[in-house]
Amino acid sequence: MYATRPEARPATVEVLVDGVAVLVPAGASAAAAVLLAGSAAIRETAVSGAPRLPYCMMGVCFDCLAEVDGAANVQACMVPVAPGMRIARQLGARDALMPEAGR
């Protein structure tokens, strides 16, 4: 739950944020990677389609929902990065009937 602040460590892990390669420190969350990448949004909300970025960074607010390695509606702040991780925007409500990776 409590981890070292990511900027205290060198950016060594390469992930893809919306298809663009970004280097982030090991142990950072996928949500932190999105913020480091300077993305305009991590998701569009299910009800109104409003753009959102990570907010609470501690698993409470659900504003950082993203598609991580093909899995929809993942709380990106709760997932540590891994080399090659694909973090993509969650566009609206997920299709619950579609089988997907990682579930």
Partner: protein
Amino acid sequence: MSAPESFQAIIVGGGLVGSAIAWGLAREGLRCVLLDEGDIAFRASRGNFGLVWAQSKGMGAPHYQRWTRYSANAWPELARELADAVGADVGLHQPGGVHLCLSDKEMADRADRMAQLAREAGNSLPFHYRMIEAAELREMLPALGPSVVGASFTPYDGHVDPLRLLHALHRAFTGAGGVYVPNAKVERSDAAPRDFRVFAADRMFEAPRVVLAAGLGNAALAPEFGLSAPVRPQQGQVLVTERVAPIFTMPTTSVRQTMQGSLLLGDSVAEVGYDISQKPAVMAEIARRAVLSFPFIARLNMVRAWSALRIMPKDGVAIYDQSEEYPGAFTANCHSGVTLAGAHARLLAPMIAAGQLDGMMDPFSARRFDVRDAA
């Protein structure tokens, strides 16, 4: 204590039952005050599942079946008038609904219950239902699991957003000139025929009518007005999934999709007194039946869960009563504040405004319990 504040009706209870009656009275032109206890109250209205459900209500009590049907019929008009009054969309969707059966025995039992309801309905308001076998049901509801053997269907059922409903009723009530008083637990009251005083929130309210719609609180309040309200808490729990794209064309008794996309899973029953703690065993059973019904639910994230207390009269049938000792005092108790909101706002409120319940309400009197206890 300040000077008495005079109204034409005092409504005790700011949940769905009290608010629907309050809105109905305000719409009839009565100057009303609505007293709401506060956040320490067991607020069933903020924990319920949101079904407008006529199917399976009133077994052995045809008057209750009929009242529920009247309410289901009144619902579209209630939704329309709330939209007109305050621009609220309470999300009423009433395409009919199904109760899923997960075994041949459940299906047979359900068929018996539905047949009995149809017999008891008689001819004045016939009860139309169908028992639907799995093959046809699969065309109505995608993603149904292999364990589902069938369902009962009635065309009267539907669902709403219960929080939007509560909010809309409050706004419509105050918009029509009603006075809403929060943190107003009734501390004391003085009853006389068509002359009531209620002390709450360090204020004194007086009116020729008082409506007790305080849910579980009615049990203690009613005797002050020459009435009785034998109700007990019955716990129900709800699980909530993440929001997903629209899947279901209609609600079921135990799984429904909200207008925002979440799935609500529920329909548990536990007799645990005034206990709103959540029980893992109950949550597991809700989840188990939901996944048997729709296997894809196993892949969804759960984001919230809660429990709440239904207001359950002794025999499960709603209580509506008027005081013989103190005319002008009324009670309303039921465990179906959403379903019955249509009837409360559009049928019950006009009776209360007129000062007397209609004869059709006689079987709902709590005096039915006195007879039974004496026998």
